[in-house]
């Protein structure tokens, strides 16, 4: 009975979405005012309103965030996040700040990566010391008080609910060491200058109201030589793929949002915010304006997602 209700509702919403999305897109082409007016998806709002709306979006999606990610991207978001950590190539002893990292996906991957690098390092070191006795070898395994090599990750998010979900996930998956959870705003980070080796923001920067402030804050908290990494949805150049992508985004995703999470509007916002985000080259220029050097980007999946990287030199 519940399933029947759900599918009927979905069909009605599907037809609704067709008309709604068409009108929204037409509306967006007119009247985008400058100044304190900003975009919230395809709507036009003030800065304050935008922050409020986004806060509410994440309040409502927090519990189903991971499930929705999996269903919307068919699980591919895991590959994207793996690619980000692989490009980071962190060495043990790295201090990572993961902003807008609510449910901890990047943080957990970072910990896994660093742990395996550390193990390999220790194995190599043992191999060199050929004439250790069995006892000394056993001792060296036990004495290893730093399986992460002193690496640490601080997860910072503006939404308490997202952090809560992340903490629970960490407990379930057994991550305890080297992990901290901090409530904070990317435009005004509660950290000192020159603190972190790497700053990452995965699928979070398009929700930030003033991206330039967030980039400046990123520059501030990074150590000299530190790296800025941003994983974000970006523009698809290929026209055929772009058509299919638009179709999928506007027709399927909000429906999924309603069916799985009971929240149409948040996922409509999500899709629209992706379209509003500046393309690869423009974002690269913004990063350079914040003071980063050697800024570059890598397209994943033809531009559906891009990893931007810059260094504080």
């Amino acid at each position: 009975k519940m399933a029947g209700l759900g599918s009927a509702r979905a069909l009605r919403l599907l037809s609704l979405s067709l008309s709604l999305s068409l009108s929204r897109r037409r509306g967006a082409l007119r009247g985008f005012a400058d100044g304190p007016q900003m975009h919230f998806g395809f709507q036009t709002v003030t800065e304050e309103e935008r922050r409020e709306k986004i806060n509410r979006v994440f309040e409502s999606v927090a519990k189903k965030y991971d499930v929705m990610n999996d269903s919307m991207t068919l699980g591919i978001h895991r590959l994207w996040k793996n690619a980000l950590v692989r490009q980071m190539n962190p060495s043990p002893g790295t201090l990572l700040l993961d902003v807008a990292g609510g449910t901890g996906d990047i943080a957990f991957r970072f910990i896994d990566y660093v742990r395996s690098v550390r193990e390999r390092q220790l194995q190599r070191r043992l191999k060199h010391h050929q004439n250790l006795s069995w006892q000394e070898i056993a001792e060296s395994y036990q004495e290893d008080k730093s399986p992460l090599g002193d690496s640490q990750v601080v997860v910072c998010d503006i939404s308490k609910e997202m952090l809560q979900v992340g903490k629970e996930k960490a407990q379930d998956l057994g991550y305890s060491e080297g992990l901290s959870w901090v409530l904070g705003n990317a435009e005004e980070l509660p950290f000192d200058d020159d603190k972190f080796d790497v700053y990452t923001i995965a699928f979070g920067i398009r929700n930030v109201t003033r991206i330039d402030l967030a980039l400046q804050e990123a520059y501030r908290v990074l150590k000299p030589g530190g790296r800025f990494l941003c994983l974000e949805f970006s523009q698809v150049r290929n026209p055929l793929l772009s058509r299919l992508y638009d179709l999928y985004s506007f027709q399927v995703i909000p429906v999924l949002g309603e069916v799985i999470a009971g929240d149409w509007k948040s996922y409509q916002y999500l899709v629209e915010s992706i379209r509003r985000f500046p393309p690869q080259e423009e974002f690269k220029a913004m990063i350079e304006d914040a003071g980063f050097f050697k800024v570059d980007y890598e397209n994943l999946n033809n531009g559906i997602v891009a990893i931007h990287s810059g260094f504080k030199l």
Binding site: T94, P224, G225, F293, S309
Partner: protein, 294 residues
């Protein structure tokens, strides 16, 4: 086109690490020449970092002070040079580069600027060695010109040059086989090959080679062969101060010299034989003609 789209000046004072060029007693001309040899990155960034160009005497437009901060490439060279010290311990890897960055006071994350297989570190080292060799040969040539030294015979010159170059590898000899194998990887071959050939060319130039015919190619090919084989022998050599390697080198250079003489001998013998055959052919044809006429 891209140059015009960029704003005329990046906020250089925002840089945290890039130092002023005047602070360094640095080898700028060498840095830029080695850049051309293997820097595969586009020079797009250069205009952004140094809109006034690397020449310290240039003054910017509109009376702006020319703040000559080092470019990203120069910082990269500094990091790689610092990384060389960590190579005996970590090998030619991204870890060594991270250690190098740390000694300069940068975060280890700066190693992310380079490829993760360490090939840029090796190419940097090879390029540095080649530059040192050039300087050495140039100094020797100056001494000869000033009459303070004797001009060496070719085989001695080649031997000394190759030995000097190979000796630069000795501090890193344990990890050098790893470096050689990385240099042979397909994406590194263009760069490593160009570095090798320019080094060999340098040696021949200072040896006084002025050939303009096929000899130019054969000489370089022969010396490349000698250099590569000697390098491989050095990898496996365990004699004190690599005596076996230098003896091997001596023999190979001697062979090459002899081959040069032999080539001439073969050529003149060949010419003699051909003339003999021609003469015989003429005689036979004359005999046939005279018989026919009878």
């Amino acid at each position: 086109v891209r140059w015009q789209l960029c704003p005329p000046q990046r906020p250089l004072q925002a840089s945290a690490v890039l130092r002023r060029v005047s602070d360094e007693q640095k080898k700028e001309p060498f840095a830029s020449s080695s850049q051309q040899q293997f820097n595969s990155q586009p020079a797009d960034h250069q205009p952004e970092q140094e809109p006034q160009g690397p020449d310290p005497s240039y003054t910017g437009q509109g009376g702006q002070e020319s703040e000559d901060y080092e470019s990203e490439e120069q910082l990269q060279h500094r990091i790689l040079t610092a990384a060389l010290e960590s190579v005996p311990e970590h090998g030619w890897t991204a870890e060594a580069i991270a250690e190098g960055a740390k000694t300069l006071g940068l975060s280890a994350a700066a190693a992310g600027m380079f490829q993760s297989d360490g090939s840029q570190l090796i190419l940097h080292f090879v390029s540095q060695c080649n530059t040192k060799l050039s300087e050495l040969l140039q100094q020797e040539q100056k001494l000869v010109e000033q009459g303070e030294a004797e001009k060496k015979p070719t085989d001695q010159f080649l031997r000394d040059a190759v030995e000097a170059r190979l000796r630069m590898v000795i501090p890193y000899i344990e990890k050098w086989p790893q470096a050689l194998s990385i240099l042979l990887m397909p994406h590194n071959i263009p760069s490593s090959l160009s570095l090798l050939s320019s080094m060999i060319d340098d040696i021949w130039h200072y040896a006084g080679d002025q050939s303009t015919d096929i000899n130019w190619y054969t000489r370089r090919a022969v010396l490349t062969g000698i250099y590569n084989t000697t390098e491989l022998v050095m990898m496996q050599d365990s004699s004190p101060d690599f005596e076996d390697t230098w003896r091997f080198l001596e023999n190979r250079v001697a062979d090459a010299m002899k081959m040069g003489d032999t080539a001439n001998q073969v050529q003149s013998t060949g010419e003699a034989i051909v003339q003999g055959l021609m003469g015989a052919a003429v005689t036979v044809s004359n005999a046939e003609t005279s018989r026919a006429l009878r």
